[in-house]
């Protein structure tokens, strides 16, 4: 560069029309115009096509195709116009540094500290009271903003049917009848060996914390899944909470050959024969087991609740 570029703040002579900076990029502007015009015509036709597609065909693919062609055509045309036919420069713009002069900075700082100091130092009482009041406002306004949103978690045993505020309770009680999702009570003959069924306590179908996966392991065995659980299974059936102890997904995959329950979300694997202890993956705790028994009519019933609260971990869990 021979000369420094002229500054914008002074009056500049008009640029000559043949100034090279004002020339288009295209070597053959007429050809470029033809390309841009063709694209725009295609775009126009595309939009007309969208109108037709909307009114006549009413089909998603035709609408997308015509709209896409319209937008692409018009977009390509305008871009070509800008890129090949508009002044290309290069043009330059000066930057200005952002920082102010030292005097201006000092003046601002002084305005804040001196004027502020004048007020705060002489009226400490008012300043303190204002701070107190606004802090109180900030805190109490959080109550409706946060506390009104939902109930407090309850750690005590919830009443039957009131599990929506309880961290630990489910609706399983001694004697609760096991029912399938369609409401049918589960009979001892309902499942083949190797079969699984999602069950709920009667009256609470679909209630998330109550979901249980019932598995038939064998025809005759009384499965002992963990020490002390001699009568937790019955007639080859065992029942576990279906809520993964990792993140609460339903543990919906049962592999009969390996006797494993697999959670499809994050691949935690539980050993069905050993109290559903996690064998692999991120789940930290066994699936809680539901003790079950048979009533006189051959229907399955719970003989108690889970051995611990189902689902993922949280602070209050002992």
């Amino acid at each position: 560069m021979s000369d420094p570029p002229p500054r914008l703040d002074g009056p500049l002579p008009p640029a000559a029309l043949d100034d090279p900076h004002l020339q288009p990029y295209a070597r053959r502007p007429e050809a470029a115009q033809a390309v841009a015009a063709t694209a725009m015509v295609i775009g126009f036709l595309g939009f007309i096509g969208f109108g037709v597609a909307y009114w006549v065909v009413a089909n998603t693919q035709w609408e997308a195709l015509t709209l896409g062609v319209g937008l692409l055509g018009l977009g390509f045309g305008v871009t070509a116009w800008g890129k090949y036919l508009m002044p290309q420069g290069p043009f330059v713009e000066e930057r200005h540094e952002f920082h102010s002069t030292d005097a201006e900075r000092e003046a601002l700082a002084a305005a804040i500290t001196q004027r502020g100091g004048l007020v705060v130092k002489r009226r400490k009482l008012l300043g303190g009271l204002f701070a107190l009041g606004s802090t109180a406002m900030g805190i109490v306004l959080l109550f409706p903003l946060l506390r009104s949103l939902g109930p407090k978690p309850s750690k005590s045993e919830a009443a039957h049917g009131a599990t929506d505020t309880s961290l630990f309770s489910t609706n399983w009680r001694k004697g609760s009848q096991l029912v399938a999702v369609d409401g049918r009570p589960v009979n001892v003959d309902d499942l083949e060996v190797g079969g699984v069924l999602t069950v709920f306590p009667k009256g609470f179908i679909g209630n998330s914390p109550d979901q249980v996966i019932l598995i038939r392991l064998s025809e005759t065995l009384q499965p002992l899944t963990a020490p002390g659980r001699t009568d937790w299974g019955v007639a080859g059936y065992v029942a576990y909470s279906k809520l993964c102890t990792h993140l609460g997904c339903p543990v919906g995959l049962y592999q009969e050959q390996t006797q494993q329950l697999v959670c499809p979300c994050h691949q935690s694997i539980f050993n069905v024969l050993a109290g559903a202890v996690p064998e692999f993956g991120p789940a930290p705790r066994p699936l809680p087991q539901l003790p079950i028994t048979l009533d006189s009519a051959g229907y399955l019933r719970a003989s108690g609740s889970f051995d611990q609260a189902p689902g993922p971990g949280f602070w209050e869990r002992p």
Binding site: A64, L65, P153, G248, G313, W315
Partner: protein, 494 residues
């Protein structure tokens, strides 16, 4: 006419000087500067299609019987949210196109933000004076991820419902306050009192978009105020910007780009099926399907959850579920905080307090480039770890092996990526002819079998004439006699 209108406005608002400066604003040319524009324009599409969807979507968990035109669902009990989403897909003209375009636009929005951010990072565009804008940008990324999650949760289908269930458990995993927070957000124990869908809806369509719009204004306002960065080149210094003016050249090109971005989104929306919720079915808390994955921008979190060992900490009657809290709360917290404060980390390391308006070539900053590569590798590994089950099936490998591979890879791969990138940068930086314009070479074989490359001669037409940059001329002499005769107009070879 134009004069009179402008005078009328200027008498009242005084726009002449600022307006001219705005029209003269210079935009440097580089393909990578378009990445942010993709984000901007997909956001425009998101707003437009989102308004359309909000006219039909019903944010309610209330159960009704489905009676719409999708036969397999008829007679089933579904939530109003689910029924209205299926309804706007099948029973509203253009509805499916708008819904799928909205979903694609969200995926492209976050994708372009990620790539744009990588560009800004690797070229050092976040340095002084642009730290504010970097922070605004990272915040928009976080808000975009949050809003994407909220948005795909709204249809109340099986896949998204599982995602909400996981979100509940993640909130619940926070020590001390987790259960309270989860109860407050969901209005009770999971699945809550039916408030989650209306709440997600209002956050998704009003609160987050409002904040995003404000931040977008700040992002672009700062860009205008601080002006663009530019790559080094002829006549480009730390004290100027060289390129084409806002009006008309940039405006034409960017308008075209808006149209083309929109075109791609709508073509995807019409031809590439996304989130077919009628196949997944209504969410039920006891149902689940195989290969459940979130949208791509949540993958890294899902992967982190999968590879985390089951380290639950139990003591003094309390439980800290580190197997959830660490990968889903602490890990993203650390990542986003590193991103937010990166400009200051770098300044502390380099002690560089100067203004930087010229961009770096990534190879010239080996440590930064290597750090970025390590970060991308870490996130990439956790992203791929979110499909351990699909990979195990596809490659016919034991699930355990795939999981253990990723447990190691997540730690080792970033270290390797750092080292390799660092070495490559050094090699490239020291190589001959770096930064020179590429020219064709002729490969010659000597009689003894050796190969040599010989650069071709520059032909006159290849010569790269770059003019000196001038300020945008205020006036153009349209009465130029040269034009009147059609002679003497200089053609410029470029």
């Amino acid at each position: 006419m134009i004069d009179a209108t402008l005078n009328w406005v200027d008498d009242r608002l005084g726009v002449a000087k600022g307006g001219r400066t705005f029209l003269d604003k210079i935009f440097p040319d580089h393909w990578s500067f378009m990445l942010g524009e993709i984000a901007l324009y997909s956001f425009v599409v998101l707003l437009a299609t989102g308004v359309f969807l909000s006219l039909y979507y019903v944010p309610s968990a209330h159960e009704i019987i489905y009676h719409g035109s999708y036969a397999p669902l008829r007679g089933q009990r579904v939530s109003e949210a689910y029924a209205s989403t299926v309804g706007l897909s099948f029973d509203v003209r253009s509805g499916l196109l708008m819904r799928q375009a909205h979903h694609w636009a969200a995926d492209i929005f976050l994708g372009s933000i990620a790539v744009h951010m990588a560009r800004v990072f690797f070229t050092g565009a976040f340095r002084k004076p642009r730290e504010f804008n970097w922070i605004v940008g990272v915040t928009m990324l976080i808000l975009g991820i949050v809003n994407g999650f909220l948005g795909y949760s709204l249809p109340d289908d099986l896949v998204s419902g599982t995602g909400i269930r996981i979100a509940y458990s993640i909130i619940e995993s926070i020590p001390l306050v987790g259960s309270y927070l989860a109860f407050f957000v969901f209005g009770g124990n999971y699945p809550g009192s039916g408030v989650i869908i209306p709440r997600f809806f209002i956050i998704h369509v009003l609160i987050v978009p409002l904040i995003l719009l404000g931040m977008l204004g700040a992002h672009l306002g700062l860009l205008v105020k601080q002006k663009h960065t530019q790559f080094p080149g002829k006549g480009k210094t730390e004290h100027n910007v060289v390129g084409s003016p806002m009006f008309p050249t940039f405006m034409a090109k960017t308008t075209g780009f808006l149209f083309m971005t929109t075109a791609v989104i709508f073509l995807l929306g019409g031809f590439a099926q996304i989130n077919p919720i009628w196949q997944f079915g209504q969410y039920e808390p006891y149902q689940i399907s195989y290969a459940v994955q979130p949208d791509w921008y949540m993958g890294w979190l899902d992967g982190a959850l999968r590879i985390m060992p089951s380290w639950e900490f139990v003591a003094f009657g309390h439980t800290i579920p580190f197997e959830v809290f660490l990968p889903a709360v602490i890990f993203p917290g650390i990542i986003f905080n590193i991103l937010l404060v990166w400009p200051f980390i770098e300044t502390r390391h380099t002690k560089d307090l100067a203004y930087h308006n010229l961009l770096d070539r990534p190879r010239d900053r080996p440590k930064r480039t290597a750090a970025g590569a390590a970060m991308l590798t870490l996130l990439g590994m956790t992203f791929f770890a979110s499909s351990t089950d699909v990979m195990a099936n596809f490659f016919n490998l034991p699930l355990k092996s795939v999981l253990w591979f990723f447990r190691f890879a997540v730690v080792l791969a970033p270290i390797i990526a750092y080292y390799v990138t660092f070495k490559i940068c050094h090699e490239m930086r020291d190589a001959e002819g770096v930064g020179k314009r590429k020219r064709a070479v002729i490969i010659e074989r000597t009689p003894s079998g050796e190969y040599h490359t010989v650069p071709t001669l520059e032909r006159p037409g290849d010569e790269h004439h770059e003019l000196d940059a001038i300020p945008v001329p205020t006036y153009i002499d349209l009465e130029d006699p040269a034009l009147a005769t059609g002679e003497g107009v200089r053609r410029v070879m470029r």
